[in-house]
Each structure stands twice: as structure tokens, then as C-alpha cells.
Symmetry: C2
Subunit: 423 residues, 2 copies
């Protein structure tokens, strides 16, 4: 008996116990790359980090003391899965100014908008289901939906965002939902035009395809005019058709405080019809019970009384200057044949290299020069993009941007020359 047990046992160490039981979890390109941004000697345009200079440290310190004095133990206790009601009310007041007419019952606080993507995947996706995205699209969304063993169908973007002229064919393949970033897209930096927003809503509605509208950067516009979010375009489209007044659209809208307050709080939110919110609440309960009571109360206490608006104005100025610095540097230092988008807001711009240049190989050489970016390929869920890359302009100050782009321009110039000299 003992011998038999040892024998069986010898065949089942931890490795065998887990190896055959886990889903295919592949290593994440961005995760490895983000490690580069932590090396202090690297000028990094790789991450999507907000500028630490704009974090409201003093306001957070004061807010914590008020929260502990006024709410006491409630700030450290379990709380409802839906989220802290005053925070949801504040977000509703905020969104109404951007054209999103909803009530707090339409809002679920999430642990960053990354969690909203996870919960939506959990709610809607079965293995083998298709998700329709832009190509390129947000890496975190690819990761979230891939964990539910989704497949992808993609539509390319151009300077006006998702190519709606190619959308109908993709919708015909029957995706579970359409995931789109209409404002200052990550990674493309492009913004979906008003005409395309209307056409996109019309087509998605015709095919009965829900839209997941991810809007982390919508308030960070440095030029031009605010465009109505898809959730508003959809509500108007349905309102006209049906005379409905309540929020019943086919759009789930995702917002976050990570880019306007502080990512370290991990606070995002999802807007949806109440029946969808109820299902997401149940799934969130099984996922992390609720988002930190403490960070929700502190964030509310910081944001209320108009601070969030004033703070967003400061961020717009800082990031707008950095975008301008990067555009100036690109013009000055990048060799002919390299193309880039000109974002009206957000944190990123998108670079297309001359044919034949591979951005992963360019990154190897760039790292020798102590400058980093993210190669474009991982942003394409169905492959491609070897000749593209993403640059972040929010994290480095204008001086570092100038220096980093100068170095990167040198790398690209040498790579282009080498390419032209090749037989």
C-alpha cells in the first residue's frame, strides 16, 4: 500500500497537478515592456503612465483626514458591490455635461476600467465567441477578452478612427459585441468623426450588436470640440425611433479616474441599462466583492466641489504641451518616410515606419540608446502591424521628449539607411 502510494505520488508533483489543468496563458508583451519603463536610465515612451507631477497629493492627504473624521469606520468596512453612492452621483453629474443622460442606477464602480472589460467578457463571452475591435486596439482589452477564449474580428482605423465603410462586413460575421475607443484611441491616437459615430451606431443597431465604448481619455482634449459619445448618439438614435426617454441603449460606456485623478486608486466605472448593471453587479460580487470602500470615499472627497474640473484643466495644459513638444520633435528629428498621427487629445500617438522596417528590431536598437516605445504588433489581435509603434507623450516632460525623440530619430535614420543599402 505504502509503496503504491509513493509510486502514484511520484508521478504527481505540483507540476503535473497544475500543468494539465490551466488554460493557455501566454506572456504579455506590454507587461514585459512596462518593466523597461521602470529602469531609471531609460527615456520611456512605452507605458501609458500619467505624469506624476500632476497627482493631487495634498488634496488626497486632506481628503483622507476628512473621510476618517466624517465617516469613521464605514470607510474601512465592507460596502455594496454597486459602489459608493455619492461617487456614482458625482460621476453622473459629470457625465451629463458630456451628453450622457443616466442615473446612479446605471453606474457600477469597477476596480479600474480594466475590471469593466473583464466583467463584460465574463458576462457576454463563451469560448470561441468573436469580439469585433479596431485594429490596432487596446492591449488590455485583448488580454481581458482572450482570457475568456474569445476570437477577434477586426476593422482597420485611419485618421478619422474606425473605418465604418468596412464595418458591415465584420458585423455580418456575428460578433458578440463591438469594442471601440472613439476618443484619442489607444494606441492610434485618432478620434472617430461625428459622421462615423452616427453610422457606427446605425449599423450596430441594425445588426443587434452591443457596443462597448471605452472612453478613458475623453476629457483630455487639447484642441477641437468635444464630440458626442456613442452612448449619446445611440440614445438619440433610439429615442427618435421609439420615443423612449429612459437610458436603454445598446451601448456600455466605460470611464475611469485613472487619467484624471490617480491610477493608483484603481477606480473606473461602467454605464449600462439597469438590467445589465444588475448582472454585472452579481458577477463583480463573485470577482472581488466590491471596489475598495476607502479609495472610493477618498476619491469622492477629492473630486467633489469642483476640484475634478479644475484638475482636469491642469492636466489638459500639461499634456497638451507635451503633445506639442512631441509633434515638434518628430518633425525635427524623424527621417522622411516615417508617418505619425496627430492626436487631438489623450496620451498616445501612432507611428508608421517605412516599408521593410520592423519596430521590434528598431526597439532593440533604441534600447541601446536608452529610449523605449511599444512595438505595434501586439495591438493587432489578428496579427500584422510589424511596421508600427506607439509613443506615449504624457509621462516624460518636454525636455525629455525632445531628447528621446532625437535619439529615436537617429536610430530610425540609421535603420532606414541600412535598409536602403541592403541588396
Amino acid at each position: 500500500m505504502e509503496a503504491t502510494m509513493t509510486e502514484v505520488h511520484a508521478e504527481t508533483p505540483w507540476r503535473a497537478r497544475f500543468a494539465q489543468r490551466t488554460h493557455g496563458v501566454t506572456s504579455s508583451a506590454i507587461r514585459e515592456l512596462l518593466k523597461l519603463t521602470e529602469r531609471p536610465d531609460i527615456l520611456s515612451f512605452a507605458g501609458g503612465l500619467p505624469a506624476p507631477e500632476v497627482f493631487p497629493l495634498a488634496e488626497v492627504g486632506a481628503a483622507v483626514q476628512r473621510v476618517l473624521e466624517e465617516h469613521g469606520p464605514a470607510a474601512l468596512q465592507y460596502s455594496t458591490t454597486e459602489g459608493y453612492l455619492p461617487l456614482r452621483e458625482l460621476l453622473v453629474r459629470h457625465m451629463i455635461r458630456y451628453g450622457i443622460q443616466v442615473t446612479p442606477d446605471n453606474v457600477l464602480i469597477t476596480s479600474g476600467s480594466q475590471q469593466a472589460l473583464d466583467l463584460i467578457g465574463k458576462l457576454l463571452l463563451n469560448p470561441g465567441d468573436q469580439v469585433l475591435t479596431e485594429a490596432p486596439t487596446f492591449l488590455g482589452a485583448i488580454q481581458a477578452f482572450t482570457a475568456y477564449q474569445a476570437d477577434f474580428v477586426t476593422v482597420p482605423i485611419d485618421d478619422e478612427g474606425l473605418r465604418v465603410d468596412l464595418l458591415e462586413e465584420a458585423l455580418r460575421s456575428g460578433p458578440k459585441f463591438l469594442y471601440v475607443l472613439p476618443n484619442f484611441q489607444n494606441p492610434g491616437g485618432v478620434t472617430l468623426s461625428l459622421e462615423r459615430r452616427q453610422r457606427l451606431v446605425e449599423l450596430a443597431s441594425r445588426y443587434g450588436t452591443p457596443i462597448v465604448e471605452d472612453d478613458p481619455y475623453g476629457q483630455l482634449r487639447y484642441e477641437g470640440h468635444h464630440l458626442p459619445p456613442l452612448v449619446k448618439v445611440d440614445a438619440e438614435y433610439h429615442g427618435c425611433a421609439h420615443g423612449e426617454r429612459a437610458f436603454r441603449g445598446g451601448v456600455l460606456y466605460l470611464g475611469t479616474l485613472s487619467k484624471t485623478l490617480a491610477p493608483g486608486f484603481r477606480l473606473g466605472w461602467v454605464v449600462a441599462p439597469t438590467e445589465v448593471i444588475e448582472k454585472l453587479v452579481q458577477l463583480k460580487q463573485g470577482t472581488d466583492l466590491h471596489t475598495s470602500t476607502f479609495t472610493q470615499m477618498v476619491a469622492y472627497e477629492v473630486a467633489r466641489g469642483g476640484f475634478l474640473d479644475r484638475h482636469v484643466s491642469v492636466i489638459r495644459k500639461v499634456y497638451g504641451d507635451r503633445r506639442d513638444a512631441m509633434l515638434r520633435a518628430l518633425k525635427a528629428h524623424f527621417p522622411p518616410g516615417v508617418l505619425w498621427t496627430r492626436p487631438q487629445g489623450g496620451l498616445f500617438l501612432w507611428v508608421t515606419l517605412p516599408a521593410g522596417l520592423d519596430s521590434t528590431k528598431v526597439l532593440d536598437e533604441a534600447l541601446q540608446e536608452k529610449v523605449a516605445f511599444v512595438p505595434g504588433a501586439p495591438f493587432f489581435p489578428r496579427g500584422g502591424g510589424a511596421g508600427t509603434l506607439r509613443l506615449n507623450f504624457s509621462y516624460c516632460n518636454p525636455q525629455k521628449i525632445e531628447e528621446g525623440i532625437r535619439r529615436l530619430g537617429g536610430v530610425l535614420l540609421r535603420a532606414s539607411r541600412k535598409l536602403n543599402q541592403a541588396p
Copy 2:
């Protein structure tokens, strides 16, 4: 064209768009019940809430100021998915004293241990897979694994915890893993004896079944001696067999700061072999990127320097007194034929009603008397348990416990009499 579009469109409002696309998400019994605990007129033994009186408010306030002064913007910035290294190091030092010999590389910080359950489900479960649990078991685990469309195979508990004499048959059915709460089980309040721990590890190892050891209450022992966690029993078992010194067991161990510091921070952790941690890290990245940098740094700053140990001593005293108050009140006020467990620690005890009494019906009557508990049935993943219920003794003070149990005793006495009078 326009007419056609309106026609198709009329068939695809939001309801149709989402209705056919969502998994079967059912409403949660505990969630509805927890709403009762929020009614201030109810004496509630329903939730699993820590006593707000023991929350370290002053220490949290001071810790926040130190974190903001010493770490500045880093406390509000994105951070690594693995979690804040000093916090992981502190948890390792803490666990070593409880017999768990690991390094920070074996620790992933999670957004409450509920998230560890979710990530483990995501890593290991495919639709239709079986999870082996105690019956009754933790509701949050049932929720987390059900979201991955798992089925359950169960083994009953008695006063010494999981009935290991019935375990082998359950293991033969090929569950993906065994989920167990060895200390002061939620909801049963019972503790797995040392002999059973050894036998459980031996059998799980023989069948190559990973163990998920959930230990939220392990430090909250009010009498008797600490028993080695399964992760230690397993390491010793494998160490003897293979002479391995590194942590390579088949046990994933789950801990939390919710019961020893503050649940509002949402901080838990999972201990696993590094290869499993790496996979969990990748899944967590797609789930919420990382747990709040701010709460991790604040919790570390509160806990370090021995405060956590001193604080746990305070909590033990407070909860131990409340457990004693409840045991006294049960003896004084509950009618003959009602049985209950006598927990050596934790937050809960488990009541078995005389045959014929249904705890859900008893709850209806109890609510008339302004007292609440959780009926036992939802804790049984494969049904049953209609004659059982769970009582929490950590949240109400001894006076309220005496009053609430007195009322509940009256309800039970009337229900028993009615039952005996029935034809």
C-alpha cells in the same frame, strides 16, 4: 432602405441585444440578505462583517500621511501586478511564524481573497469541470467558481471538519481541485483536526488533485492551539518523499487582511509555486491590472513594526468575548432539539434545527422580531441544508448578541411548538 432599417432595428432593442448573449447569472442569496444587515432596526447575525469598533482609524490616518510624505506620487501611480514588495515581504514574515515557508515570489496580492478565488477559477476551470468542496462551504467560492460554469462534488463536514473518510470517493470523480477552509470554517465554524489534515493531503496528493486552502480566520483563534496549515502539511509530506526544499506543494494558500486590518482596503493574497503565481499574475493583469497601490502602501505602513500582531490580539479578545456571549445566550434561550457548533475561532457558528423546521421560513418570522441570520441552504452547492442556518458573532456587541439570540430563541420555540402541534 430606411423602412427596412427601422423594421430590423425595432426587433433589436437593448433587451434583445443582451438577453441572448449573457450567461445564466442568478441572483445571489447572500447579497439580498446582506441588504437586511443595512437596516438599522435589525439585530443582524447575517453578515460576515468585522466589528467596526476595532478598526485602526488613527493608525490609518497617520499611515496615509507618512505614505504621502515618503513615497509621494508613487502611492497614486500604476504599480506592478504582483503587488507592493514590502507588503509581500511583511506577509511572508508573518506566514513563516504560522509554518508557511515561502518567499515574496510565491505571493500575489489580490483585491481581497475573493479575487484569488476568481483568478483560480479563471486559471483552472472550464465549463462543466468539477470542484470538490465541503458541504456546506463559503458562498463566495460557490459564486466565483459558478461564474466559470463549474459543477460541484461535495463532502460533508462534522465537528472535526471535512469527513476525510468520504473524501477518496469524491476524489475519484476527478475534480479540478479541492477547495477547503480548514480553520473555523465559514459557515460551519468547525476546524479540521491534525489527523484529518494529514490524511487529506495524502489523498489529494495520491490523486494529483490541487488543494485550494482558504484561511481568512486562521489567526483569530480564541482557544486551543494553532494547527499547521495544509500548505505546511503538504510541504512536509512532499519534502519527506522527495527531499525538496523549495516551496513546490500542490496547495494554493489564500490569506486576507479583511479580518485582521480592514475589509474596506480589499487586500488579500495567494501563495503558490512561482510558476503558478506567474500565470495568476498574467490573469490578474487582464482582470484589474493591479490592486490599489495606495491601499497596499497604507496597509503596509499600518501593519509594519509589529502593529498587526498587537491588533490581532485586540481582535481576538473582542471576538472571543462575543463568541462566549453567543454560546451563553444559545444555551439560555434556544429550545431543546436545536444543535450548534462550538467554534474555537473565526466569525461564525452553525445551527441545525430539529427535523421538520425550515430555516428560510424561520427567517421570515425572525425578521418580524427584527433579528436576522443566513439560512443554510445556499451554502450547499448541491442542495440540501434546509434545516440549518449560520450565525455571525463578530459584528454585534455582547448585549446585542444576548438580545438577538433571546428573540431568535422565542421564534424557534414557537416554530417547534407549531411543528409538534401539526397533525
